[in-house]
Subunit: 286 residues, 2 copies
């Protein structure tokens, strides 16, 4: 694709996702640079040839050389980073991000962004229960979903650029949603599920569960191993959709509880048939 040739991509924040972007883009042939607060992280990424160059501070020269910038910071840090460093941007630079919430970041960011730069939001729906550059692995993108989240301020070209990026990284499916659609969906499939997994793990102190459990409990709590520095921030920055989704789920499980209490066999069967039908559609489509 045209935009690859002789382009420099800078990753800001070499965590699990930023590091995996670096690996994938470097392998494809980009000149990849990075900025991270940790000297050790930059040294590691250079040694492992994940990046061609990098700095543990916002190096004006490195920033100014980048044609594309991927912001892979915690969501609360993104706006400040742009404010402080956009004076160094190359005119025409295109930026994207990797964060899991959009409305509370993308509009503010586009408002303060220089007129000669463009920010197109994206959410790579890949991750692991481990983090940090040393766990980076571009294979986490295989068969995963990549969601582009444009606003009316985005050009058709930047949306196309972001689609190409998702495909180059190896994602299985690339979709487009509005920030509001994205946040409402993510509150359901990701944030609510993490609240459920944590609640399951914290509501009971049985430390001998592994001796007795089947796969169900293991599956439902895999994501209960959770980064406590990132997730509260994601929850607070998407508070309204998440609280709505929590209520939606809690109302439903109370209905199911009522059916169990009342021995409402037909009611439960109907719920289970619907559940099975939807899960089968889901399996077919994924």
């Amino acid at each position: 694709m045209e935009w690859i040739n002789n382009k420099t991509v800078m990753i800001v924040g070499l965590g699990l996702i930023g590091g995996s972007y670096a690996m994938a883009l470097n392998r494809i042939g980009y000149h990849v640079t990075a900025i991270d607060v940790s000297e050790e992280t930059i040294a590691y990424a250079k040694e492992k040839k994940m990046i061609d160059d990098g700095a543990a501070f916002p190096d004006p020269k490195l920033i100014g050389e980048a044609d594309c910038i991927v912001i892979a910071l915690y969501p609360s840090k993104i706006i400040d980073w742009i404010k402080e460093n956009q004076k160094y941007f190359k005119p025409g630079v295109i930026l994207t991000d990797v964060t899991g919430i959009k409305s509370s970041v993308v509009y503010d960011l586009q408002d303060i962004l220089r007129d000669d730069a463009e920010f197109i939001a994206a959410h790579p729906m890949a991750g692991r229960e481990v983090y940090g550059v040393k766990n980076s692995d571009e294979r986490i993108f295989r068969d995963a979903n990549f969601i582009i989240v444009p606003t009316k301020n985005n050009s058709a070209e930047s949306i196309k650029w972001c689609e190409d990026l998702g495909r180059l990284l190896g994602f299985g499916r690339v979709s487009v949603l509005s920030p509001e659609e994205h946040d409402n969906m993510i509150a359901f499939v990701s944030q609510l599920t993490h609240c459920i997994a944590v609640s399951l793990m914290t509501c009971d102190d049985n430390e001998h569960l592994a001796e007795y459990t089947g796969d169900s409990f293991r599956d439902l709590t895999r994501i209960a191993n959770i980064n406590e520095n990132m997730w509260p921030e994601l929850f607070f920055m998407n508070k309204e959709p998440l609280l709505r989704r929590l209520d939606q789920f809690i109302d439903e499980i109370n209905v199911i509880k009522g059916m169990i209490k009342d021995s409402d066999e037909e009611g439960l069967k109907e719920k289970m048939r619907l559940s099975t039908k939807r899960r089968k559609i889901f399996d077919k489509d994924s």
Copy 2:
């Protein structure tokens, strides 16, 4: 093990679990027979050499030849089957079951059982989202948990027999719990998790989820593909422990919801640290 030699094991009910028992025990060298309501199931199991003999009715001769009987029926059918057919039992026969709830079956069963027979309850914690004899596969027992659920009426010999059975079937871990401990634990790790998975699937009618979801939602709803003929029965026969567990979980997720509403970052971090710590212990032990 001594009890293997020249013994006949009869499986009553050739579903996924009964069929998988038959496969494993036949391969080891038992004479395996079966009774199932379906002619087709018996014919299939014979043809596939899962069983040596079988009948689609409670054949007195087959029942009378069995040294061990594995009742793999839906829980509500077990007592009636024993009542109707124990007149054919060989004196000294040992029986076990595979059902997922215990208190509501085992005491009644032992009360009505002939004095020259012994019933020792067991719960093979293995399963799949598919069912029926054609999906039988003894590999589902590998690394899974097998729980023996004796009462004060059980002999040390029968408990030892059941341990041997679990190991012969290939289970990774064999444990012993009282009926009450078992039911309280299973209400939590299995029944509650199924209620959660179904609620997640039925509380929202978005049929395009697969395009957007990461692994979290997929993991939490795998078991939402559920056998609606069996599970309501399991829930009703373990109603009190399950309702208690549902309340325990719903109370906790409401606490988490409150923390999100109040932007209680420290509270959430503490929950997530506890959740992560417990999940790591669980991974280490399983």
